[in-house]
Subunit: 283 residues, 2 copies
């Protein structure tokens, strides 16, 4: 991308929702449909030369967003509301710009974020309407045990066993956050009909971390993993052949939503609520 001409350039902060089902995640990739790619295409169609576009969270293939945040640097200044309308007229129907605001030239969606929250929807039954937004867990779940497990994740832990570290290294991103220490601010669990909702809040996340946390919570809830086994996975000691592997429990992307990215001065998160309502856990 070209360097912006400082005199004419302008930086925008975008708030975006998308259904990730059809996409290989946010981040632009050659020969793959991505959300960032859809934005660059729409901006090209609108005749707006892009100097830089960056999302706060990469989101894996198939992961959704209720509130992805991105910085967009254009080589010309346009009215933010007009920019939002121009994008929504051209973006595919499964991507929507919720808000566009002018931002300081230095605004960087990923570096400036102080907190991210992810929402995961587990469904305890088959569902005709909410299938794209949930992970259907067939085993009966003890939600109180699952809640106790969630509490173990809170605080500062070494999440190396929950991160897809090799994948990061392969992609040449291994140097950026070599540490697997993460301070998890909170893990909330709530029930809504047949749904079990899990919300994880932290300043940053490792690759696949939330999906492996949710996979582990389901293992505990189903009685296949003890709380002590879970706690041992949160230590930095290497796993032995006998240890269970969180990588084997990676929950599917369909249930995962990047809910909110918070910047200095933003209001706190609202109460945990389902994206889709589904009824009681009959049949």
């Amino acid at each position: 991308m070209r360097k912006p001409d400082a005199a004419r350039a302008a930086t925008y902060r975008l708030l975006i929702e998308y259904d990730g089902t059809r996409y290989r995640g946010w981040q632009e990739q050659r020969n793959a449909r991505t959300v960032a790619g859809a934005f660059l295409h729409a901006l090209g169609e609108a005749g707006l030369p892009v100097a830089d576009l960056g999302g706060a969270g990469r989101t894996d293939a198939g992961v959704h967003a209720l509130g992805q945040c991105a910085h967009l640097r254009l080589q010309q200044r346009v009215d933010p509301a007009e920019l939002g309308r121009a994008l929504n007229r051209r973006l595919p129907k499964d991507i929507h710009v919720l808000d566009v605001a002018m931002a300081p030239a230095s605004f960087h969606a990923r570096h400036d974020a102080i907190e991210r929250s992810y929402l995961y929807q587990i469904s305890r039954r088959r569902t005709a309407l909410a299938k794209p937004w949930v992970w259907w867990v067939r085993e009966p779940l003890d939600v109180e045990r699952l809640r106790a497990a969630a509490a173990r994740f809170a605080g500062r832990h070494d999440f190396r066993h929950f991160a897809d570290v090799e994948k990061r290294a392969v992609r040449g991103e291994g140097t950026e956050r070599a540490s697997t220490l993460v301070e998890v601010e909170s893990v909330e669990v709530a029930e809504d009909g047949a749904l079990v909702l899990v919300r994880v809040v932290a300043s940053h996340f490792l690759w696949k971390m939330v999906r492996r946390m949710v996979g582990a919570l389901a293992q505990v809830g189903a009685g296949q993993l003890t709380l002590d086994q879970l706690s041992r996975l949160l230590e930095s000691a290497p796993l032995t052949a006998a240890d269970p592997r969180p990588a084997e429990w990676t929950a599917p992307p369909s249930g995962l939503f990047l809910e909110r990215v918070r910047y200095a001065g933003d209001p706190p998160l609202g109460p945990l609520a389902a994206v889709s309502r589904i009824g009681g856990d009959t049949a």
Copy 2:
């Protein structure tokens, strides 16, 4: 269909949810994909000969159901829970059986129903995640006016101008409920983020009645129809050339859900709530 052998036959009450997007409604039709057709196919695959299958509400093409009710008469007795599992293993992913119960041999899903409720979701913004479940109304809506209009529908009125009466006659069903008098028990309106929810409860409904009611409510909310004009449409006098036509405002099926069918002894409806949560009405 064959007459059931009374000695071996059994009647079941099914509670069903479906995403109606791909279907030409509930009712079986030659050369069209219907929800009842999917049930007959699944029951055939399961080797269960069907004597009779009838839904409480026909639901138009594209209309969804959170709680359609049906009677199913089989020529043999099977365990209800087993029947539910056998169906859910074979039904397409956009149809789900919530519950199966044994019912008296005389149980008829349509005739025995004492009350039906429909939920309609209007979205005041474009949405990436909820598009299949809403009608996006671009005009700004005055929700207090819309609520006042909803109140006019409550009570006993002649809904002939809101019913697709000709279509019923063409289909040879004109005789069954020739009267267009309907007692509407309640019309509730609620806001949830960018959604405006409308719930209509009545003992029965005329063809397309709810979609035309919601279309008229949107007209009033957008300031294009007065409350007095609406009230005149609820009288049985023929429309003049100058009168607006509710048929022109038929709201799309995507926003409509058959929410609940109530039978004698069933508990009352729960509070009005969105099927899909969508955020505030920004951009």
